[in-house]
């Protein structure tokens, strides 16, 4: 039940961000600093989420099959593979590496 509360709050706040854009005066667009912070934060958060999902296990760091998934996903993206194919490549790599014994 607890998770439901944070989830619904996240939904409400996401909508609030979207709506706020439609109600702020256009002159705020003239200040490039806000757009830049929104953009750098997007990059920083996605980079952080990528790395956390690759090497973190709770509060400790681990080098496991997920590193292989990261490498293969990067190669697939460099070859301009579509999103779904990248995800499938990442999953199969991790599954295969575990199958051959790399945890």
């Amino acid at each position: 039940m607890n998770l439901w509360i944070w989830l619904l709050l996240a939904c409400a706040l996401a909508y609030a961000w979207k709506l706020v854009g439609y109600f702020v005066p256009a002159r705020f667009l003239k200040d490039p600093r806000m757009s830049r912070v929104a953009g750098t934060m997007t990059i920083g958060l996605l980079a952080s989420l990528t790395i956390v999902n690759t090497v973190a296990s709770g509060q400790s760091l681990a080098a496991d099959a997920r590193l292989g998934a990261l490498a293969v996903a990067a190669i697939a993206l460099a070859l301009r593979a579509p999103f779904l194919l990248v995800v499938v490549a990442g999953a199969s790599t991790a599954a295969l590496l575990r199958l051959i014994g790399w945890n």
Partner: protein, 248 residues
Amino acid sequence: MKLLASPAVRVGLSISIATGLYGVSFGALSVTSGLNFWQTMALSLLLFSGGSQFAFIGVVAGGGSGVAAMSAATLLGMRNGIYGMQLNALLHPTGWRRYVAAQLTIDESTATSTGQADPAEQRRGFWAAGIGIYVLWNLFTAVGALAGGGLGDPKQWGLDGAAVAAFLALLWPRLKGREPVAIAVVCALATVIAVPFVPAGVPILIAAVVAALIGWFSHGRSDEGLEPDVDPYAEHHHGHHGTGQAGT
């Protein structure tokens, strides 16, 4: 159908299919992260912003608290406020349309709209991509959530590897040029250093603060990192869609 003669509508529909389909991965990863079917659907129906949704389930999967998951999703949704300003200036939606437009404001609908020159086409592009993606994203989230629930042990299928790949795929289109790559590396390092010292979920928020400070004090492009996950005009031009300091 006269609508299909509009280039913006055709771009909007093809981007809907490309984006909507990967709702399958969101749905599957969400239920294997520990959310139930309706929590997964609530995120796609109500939150409706791919990056933020993946962030929410990513933090939960890593053992982070609900507060940390909400914070990461909310911070990642900040760019939608910028899109809202751009779209408001472009489309001037009034009355109830404004509230619906707000919900449909995401990377792809914004990119489809701002990529057109003619005001009528900008409007058609926004609604075609927004409504199309909303319908397909939710449909495929449900498919993924139902399929993912029957998978058993998610690790056996490498689903944690799928999450890694999904986040990298969301990050990738934004890494155009040296500055975004540097930001990504710095934030990744800050995360790795923080992991052993703070509760799960918090390293991501530390990285957000680092990224915000870089954005505040740097003098890079004003639209740094504001690229859509799937570029609607990828077939027509490559490289930057950026307009530099002037904005749009």
